[in-house]
């Protein structure tokens, strides 16, 4: 089967404006959670989140006379970094062999709110409010900026979106539809999402404490992450730096409940097994899990159960971490940024810490990289995700040895 590798990374979040900044902040255990300023929070129950303040899209990405939704601006910024990082940023001819696969929960919802407000008989909206609201417009913009004229696909799988985009992109390359794919996830904080996520009561006014006994909920953040995937042959032929192989992925559904995790994490266990089978790997080959770890009571315990079900005794030999303590939960971008962290763990031999951890939960007793980063060789990482609707996704990255000569 065609081997697929990652050759470029890009990201923007409240922890930093690019991958090096975000990776350094994650490893230092910094927090990107702050008082929200985007909208008036006085009537909201929760007022702190991972907002990107003073965001400025690189001027080179702007087009005169064009209104671009904020979430799409995040995605364009991350895409630019990933393409530049891969060594192919400057291309300006049509590239029919490179696809674009992006994922989001809410897409251009800030623009969409304007159309909803218009329909409610308040302020009139503009045409661009609706076109920017349409999911596909973000992929259109990314494709247009770099003339990426291969398959162009948007998907939405709640908080498993970012991971699902990588899994779907992997398939597109294996099935022969593209030689490379820019896979990304993005979301912006909005009144729409914040009021809904507040109403679901999954958030906390405390810090996010993944796997902690006294964890009380998650906190949502915004941003985007992008990975350039390509065939190993293509990467070798152009002498590109290879971060890691995308060894396999899985997507599934709990078929259980719209917001509650399945009992014993059955769906999550099944998706991790699916990813292992897809990669042709035994569980023992995995030496680190970048967990979904939202910091909610049900997620962290069921995810722990799922990991134990799949990995057995090996689960206790393998460190896990959740970056959501510092980064918050980036919604549609969560899987993308966690994939980037997983890949950089392989590159640097460093696992970023799970922040805000204080007390061990006997139900969450796997070896956690708590509060301080861990230095160890990492060859194979499984990044795990889950979301509303009972969606699960997992992807496995593996170290690629340099080829001599």
């Amino acid at each position: 089967m065609t081997r697929v590798v990652v050759t470029g990374l890009g990201a923007v979040s409240s922890l930093g404006a690019n991958v090096p900044q975000i990776w350094a902040a994650l490893c230092r255990g910094e927090s990107g959670i702050r008082d929200l300023t985007r909208f008036d929070v006085k009537d909201f129950a929760y007022t702190r989140g991972g907002e990107i303040v003073h965001f400025q899209m690189p001027p080179a990405l702007a087009r005169s006379g064009e209104t671009v939704d904020l979430a799409t601006q995040f995605m364009l910024t991350a895409a630019a970094e990933a393409l530049h990082d891969s060594g192919r940023g400057g291309r300006d001819t049509s590239d029919v062999e490179t696809g674009v696969v992006l994922s989001t929960n809410f897409g251009g919802i800030i623009s969409g709110e304007n159309v909803m407000t218009d329909l409610q008989g308040r302020n009139p909206a503009h045409a661009s409010d609706f076109t920017e609201f349409l999911f596909q417009s973000c992929a259109d913009r990314v494709a247009e900026r770099w003339q990426l004229d291969g398959p162009r696909v948007m998907l939405s799988l709640s908080c498993a979106s970012g991971t699902a985009a990588i899994g779907y992109a992997l398939d597109l390359i294996r099935f022969g539809h593209a030689k490379s794919v820019l896979a990304g996830g993005y979301d912006a904080l909005s009144r729409f999402a914040w009021s809904g996520l507040s109403a679901l009561r999954t958030m906390t006014k405390d810090a996010v404490r993944p796997f902690d006994k006294n964890r009380a909920g998650t906190i949502f953040s915004e941003g985007a992450g992008a990975l350039l995937l390509e065939t190993e042959d293509s990467a070798r032929a152009r002498g590109a730096r290879i971060y890691a192989e995308v060894a396999g992925a899985g997507l599934n559904n709990n078929a259980f409940h719209i917001t509650a995790p399945a009992k014993e994490g059955a769906g999550s266990a099944a998706v991790m097994r699916a990813a292992l089978a897809d990669a042709g790997l035994r569980p023992e080959a995995v030496d680190h899990i970048n967990a979904h770890g939202t910091g909610t009571k049900p997620n962290d315990v069921t995810e722990t159960q799922a990991i134990k079900a799949v990995f057995g005794a090996h689960a206790y030999q393998m460190p896990i971490t959740s970056i959501k303590g510092g980064a918050g939960h980036l919604m549609g971008a969560a899987g993308s940024i966690e994939a980037i962290a997983s890949i950089l763990s392989i590159r640097d031999g460093v696992i970023p810490p799970t922040m805000n951890f204080r007390d061990t939960d006997p139900e969450c007793d796997l070896p956690l990289v708590a509060n301080e980063k861990k230095t160890m060789p990492v060859n194979c990482v499984l990044s795990n995700s889950a979301g509303i609707g009972g969606c699960n996704a997992a992807v496995i990255f593996r170290k690629v040895e340099a080829v001599a000569g």
């Binding site: 597109l172 679901l200 078929a255």
Partner: protein, 445 residues
């Protein structure tokens, strides 16, 4: 057609369809309406100005396994399509390993009715008064996730939002998953519901056929006087199944999927479509490369000034010397521009054409654009037995997807497909010379 079913490239057949559209719900009603050339476009109900292809007399409770407290209209249409597809394919899911079955649906806009309902409370009452029960229904994946719950489908799960190509992208992925042996069976298609928010949004864009009297309102694909599209709603789910799996359970076979491909053209809109059909032509060539001929094309054309021209140019490039003879039609004047559901409803219609030997007409086409030289079907449908059909899907933003279907020779037309008394009775096509069956494009790819 008799290629072996090798393990790396398994044969994929369609064993059931669930169409839900303004011209008919369920296979028999939908096929009959297509053959008759009925239009589902009419005045928008509820007093608003303009035209739309609305589904009327629809009660989702007929299609539900369990009672639901709340379902967005988009989800309702998808639930109906699912129930109909499962019944049509004679599938008893409970007797199967449901973790092996895939579920992939596409929708351009998702559940906008719920979005407006939810955010209306925010605007009128404030953030603390929004309805937590409605919020999860604003996620686009909620529709397929609810279907997974309803039917215990714990396998491959993907929700696509790729604009007007969404359901075609879903079908291409389903085809690839079955072809490569990753799933023996995938339920795939798309859904789209009309809502005041969707209508308001498209009114703002100016892409709809005008409602302000500045021109005749209506959907006239490939016509010189085309001036935009008319929104519709609907859903379509197809059961794609590995051929041996279908044979083992004695499933009915409507047709074989012979190829699928995706592509895009980032310069599509900027350059007004001049000579920019190459991307689409390439995708059509790739999708049809296993077929000895293309006998019929179901076009995506919806009456858009630019996208119809691009599709016409692409068809001319792709069909080459056969451009003037291979029949082409668009069913959008019947079902409306159903956005993300379009590819799936076109795919089901193409299977109907293969099965019945009646190629649907392009309603409202009176004056074909001069110089395109395409055999676009006008007037009434054309009675012609065909065995290979290509289905196009295009998003105005520049993405395309195509799927190729073949008829398996011993499965053509059972009369039971047409319970109302057989296919259209007076087939005749203006602009197209009727040709004997089997004449088509020789493959040059």
């Amino acid at each position: 057609m008799n290629k072996p079913n090798d393990k790396m490239n398994r044969r994929v057949v369609v064993t059931g369809v669930g169409p839900v559209s303004a011209i008919g719900i369920g296979r028999a009603a939908y096929f009959a309406a297509l053959a008759e050339g009925r239009s589902g476009i009419g005045p928008v109900s509820g007093g608003a100005a303009g035209l739309a292809a609305e589904i009327k007399d629809f009660d989702v409770r007929e299609y539900l396994e369990t009672e639901k407290a709340y379902l967005d209209r988009a989800s309702q249409l998808a639930f109906a399509a699912m129930s109909l597809a499962l019944e049509d394919a004679n599938l008893d899911l409970k007797s199967m390993d449901r973790s092996a079955i895939g579920l992939i649906l596409g929708s351009a806009a998702g559940c906008l009715e719920s979005a407006q309902f939810f955010f209306g409370d925010f605007l009128e009452k404030g953030p603390r008064f929004v309805k937590p029960i409605v919020f999860p229904h604003t996620y686009t994946n909620t529709t397929i996730s609810l279907l997974a719950m309803e039917y215990g489908l714990s396998g491959y799960h993907l929700s696509l939002t790729s604009g007007m190509t969404a359901s075609m992208v879903a079908l291409v992925q389903a085809y690839d998953l079955v072809r490569t042996g990753k799933c023996p069976l995938v339920l795939a298609g798309g859904f789209e519901a009309l809502s005041p928010l969707l209508r308001r949004g498209y009114e703002l864009t100016g892409r709809l056929s005008p409602r302000d009297g500045s021109g005749p309102e209506g959907c006239a694909p490939f016509d010189a006087a085309r001036n935009g599209f008319v929104l519709g709603e609907g859903a379509g789910i197809l059961v794609l199944e590995e051929a041996d799996h279908a044979a083992q359970r004695g499933a009915p076979v409507l047709g074989e999927v012979l190829g699928g491909n995706l592509g895009s053209d980032s310069s599509l809109c900027k350059r007004q479509g001049v000579a920019l059909g190459h991307g689409l032509a390439h995708v059509m060539r790739h999708a049809s490369r296993q077929m000895s001929s293309v006998d019929y094309v179901s076009a995506a054309a919806h009456g858009g000034p630019v996208t119809d021209r691009i599709e016409a140019l692409a068809l001319r490039e792709f069909l080459g010397v056969k451009a003037g003879t291979v029949p082409i039609s668009s069913i959008k004047p019947m079902i409306g521009e159903v956005l993300g559901a379009g590819g799936a409803l076109q795919a089901i219609a193409a299977l109907g054409a293969l099965q019945s030997g009646v190629l649907p007409s392009t309603l409202n086409l009176k004056q074909p654009e001069a110089g395109w030289g395409l055999a676009v079907l006008q007037g009434q449908g054309l009675q012609r037995a065909v065995s290979h059909a290509l289905v196009n899907s295009i998003d105005p933003g520049g993405s395309v997807a195509c799927l190729a279907f073949g008829l398996i020779s011993d499965t053509r037309v059972s009369d039971s497909l047409f319970p109302t008394g057989g296919p259209a009775s007076t087939p005749a096509a203006a602009g197209v010379e009727p040709r004997p069956p089997g004449v088509g494009l020789n493959t040059e790819h």
